[in-house]
Amino acid sequence: MLAHLPILQVVVPLMAAPLCWFLNRSKLVWIFALLVCAATCTNSTLLLIEVMKSGTITYELGGWEAPWGIELRIDKLNAFLLLIISTIATVVMFAANTSIQKELSEDRHTLFYSLYLLSLTGMYGIVATGDAFNVFVFLEISSLSAYALIALGNDRRALWAAFQYLIMGTIGATFILIGIGMLYQMTGTLNMSDLAIRLVDVGHTRTVFVAFAFLIVGLCLKLALFPLHLWLPNAYAYAPSIVTAFLAATSTKVAVYLLIRFTFTVFGISFSFTTLPLQSILMVLGLVGVFVASVTAIYQQNVKHILAYSSIAQVGYMIIGYSINTSTGVMATLLHLFNHALMKSALFLALGAIMYRIGSVQLSQFQGLGRQMPLTMSAIVIGGLSLIGVPLSVGFISKWYLLIASVEAGMWSVAVLILLGSLLAIVYIWRIVEMAYFKPPLPGRETVKEAPWTFLAPIWALVIANIYFGIDTRLSVQVAQAASQSLFGINP
């Protein structure tokens, strides 16, 4: 059984998604989907333990060995990613039943759950596989289901947002496919580790160079790096709250993972960072992204928009860490992946709770909520502090390692800019706090109650995780360090 862990991670949600159709009772499907998420979460925990103990696990599908068949390849990096995704998916799923009761009509509940599970399958597949084309197939699953999930939103603008995302996402996926196709043409293989070996010989050709460029652009579209982020804010803002919490915490992370995987494992560090001025381009885009997105966030009226722009800024931080191109830099990126998933899922879930109670997430509607929904609002405050990077929160840990990495690499200006970017976060978080705590409740809103416990439990679990991993960093830092060191070929 232990040997089958990698495939179970992908196949369990894949088979569960069509099974949802046969249950067809909202509550029943929810319990079923929750169990499936929890099962994959346990599975990924076991995988991580196994990988940390005995190194990389490979799994040959259909019994065909690697370059001929498809293999799943779990190393420290993707075991870590799998754990992040599965944990968030499980926790968010816990609140799903309550939330979609208000936001979706009854006949769409089954659709919602099976799309959710398919999206999850897609992400697991992308992360677990060791085959470049397989990545594309699962990328399609996760993106198609994400488009549909966003389009489920009640707001009519959700349709338009999903359509925008569909167009941008498809362009991104096509670029990735073109890149993979060219790589196949030059090497005759699709397996990642095999590609890495065979690319050395043809690394100087223009075709490989173009393939690399297409892959990077396609991935940057998917991970919403400035200036390719335009699809993200509306997609997050008009999707159902649960979908936002789930996607915000996971989908861009998967794209960041792919970027790391392709540049480090497939193309190799020397190729990735010498052929193109990739390092400086991404560094600049990351920094500009942090500032533009943070400033835009300050001027938003919809709280979901504020947090969506903040997500773009956080992606900027991840890209900065990545483009420093040191072991510490990548480690900071991985840490920020983990930490940002914790913060954003907590924040968006809390917004879901507010949506559940007052039916809106406009900033102006937040008046007086601090006293009416004390637990939800304090969760938002703690999540916000973490987003800013206040000590004792996870946000501080990743910013701290990011600063160390940039100082180590002698990039003082980058370090200063990172700190300035964090100051901007204070402004947009403060706007929410001010509205919620220092204004009286709106007339007619005096009776708003605290969110139900099905919301509060997952929100506070995430908030406590935010603080816990801010103090006890052993798990996250250790794993991130091991993963990034293995990418750079350093043996601890």
Binding site: F22, M182, R198
Partner: protein, 331 residues
């Protein structure tokens, strides 16, 4: 190429649909030229057939003309030019078309060509690669189609069935009488289309074909029937909710083959353990997964079409009712 430009330039959406049908057919021919008969099959039936139909259905909902646009998309043009330039730049170092020493033919392909007969026992190499060597990709693709299906379902939820009024029946009769020739000809054709689909399905091991193609052809046959005889008649035979379940069944069937091989102690989707003789096992495995593919593809296509059509009828009816109300008000 000429047609692609024509598609972009034309404002009449009906013409655009026709042109894209031609485009699909031409690219199918192109695929035949590069010896990808299986892809050509799919492209001919999807690109030239079903997607055109779906677009037609969409047009009847929205309208025929594209709204004229005024802004000039220079930025987009720039991006497209850069991308195109990059693509051409990239082809400069590519191996020549059909060159025997190209890496594609040197690395993994020889084993597929030389040994698939002994290892998988299927004469059609494409089926061997898709169904066995890279079966997990194919499973993923079926999941993609399934996802697309429920994606569309979640956007167009079926409106409630309404009772037929006598005037509806009258118009339907009228329409059907008008298309008498088409009806009779296609009535004769449809059984053959369905039979051909089954042939493609089960002959995929030997000739070009397989579940994807068969599913699409099967769906096309039924869609033809639906278009000529009305949605209600077709849905008497093919209950939409059962079709939706069938889409799930197909995917499950495929995945459960993998589970069975896992229970038998091998890796996921390893067909060798399905029977005593590995080759027999491969045959059984490929047969079942192709069946799963066919079921899912056909039922997803059908349920997408049914939904579109039901939506179209609902909108037409509401328009008609609105019109009647207006008339009665003016009276």
């Amino acid at each position: 190429m000429v047609i692609a430009i024509a598609i972009v330039r034309t404002r009449n959406l009906l013409a655009v649909v026709m042109l894209s049908g031609i485009y699909g057919l031409l690219s199918a021919c192109f695929f035949v030229v590069v010896d990808a008969v299986d892809v050509a099959f799919t492209e001919a039936s999807v690109g030239a057939g079903i997607s055109g139909l779906l677009m037609l259905a969409a047009i009847t909902i929205t309208g025929r003309k594209e709204a004229p646009k005024r802004h000039k998309p220079f930025l987009a043009l720039f991006v497209v030019l850069v991308t195109g330039g990059m693509l051409i730049y990239g082809t400069m170092d590519m191996p020549y078309f059909g060159a025997a020493d190209a890496p594609v033919h040197q690395h993994v392909a020889p084993r597929y060509i030389n040994e698939s007969m002994q290892e998988v026992g299927v004469p059609n190499i494409v089926t061997a690669v898709l169904g066995s060597y890279r079966a997990f990709d194919t499973l993923g693709e079926v999941a993609v189609i399934f996802t697309a299906g429920i994606g569309v379902l979640s956007l167009l939820t079926l409106p409630r069935r309404r009772k037929k009024t006598s005037s509806d029946e009258a118009t339907e009769e009228q329409m059907h009488e008008r298309h008498m020739v088409v009806r009779i000809v296609s009535k004769a054709l449809i059984p053959f289309i369905l039979l051909f689909a089954l042939y493609v399905q089960f002959h995929g091991d030997f000739g070009p074909g397989g579940g994807f193609q068969a599913g699409v052809i099967f769906a096309a046959g039924i869609i033809l029937y639906t278009m000529l005889f009305g949605l209600d008649t077709a849905q008497k035979v093919f209950n939409p909710s059962i079709i939706q379940l069938l889409a799930a069944v197909g995917l499950l069937l495929y995945a459960s083959v993998g589970v069975v091989s896992m229970i038998n102690g091998a890796n996921f989707l390893d067909y060798n353990v399905l029977a005593d003789d590995p080759i027999d096992g491969q045959h059984i495995g490929i047969l079942i997964i192709e069946l799963g593919v066919g079921i899912t593809v056909a039922s997803v296509m059908l349920s997408i079409f049914f939904n579109f059509d039901a939506r179209r009828q609902a909108i037409q009816n509401s328009n008609k009712q609105k019109g009647e109300q207006d008339v009665s008000r003016t009276l």
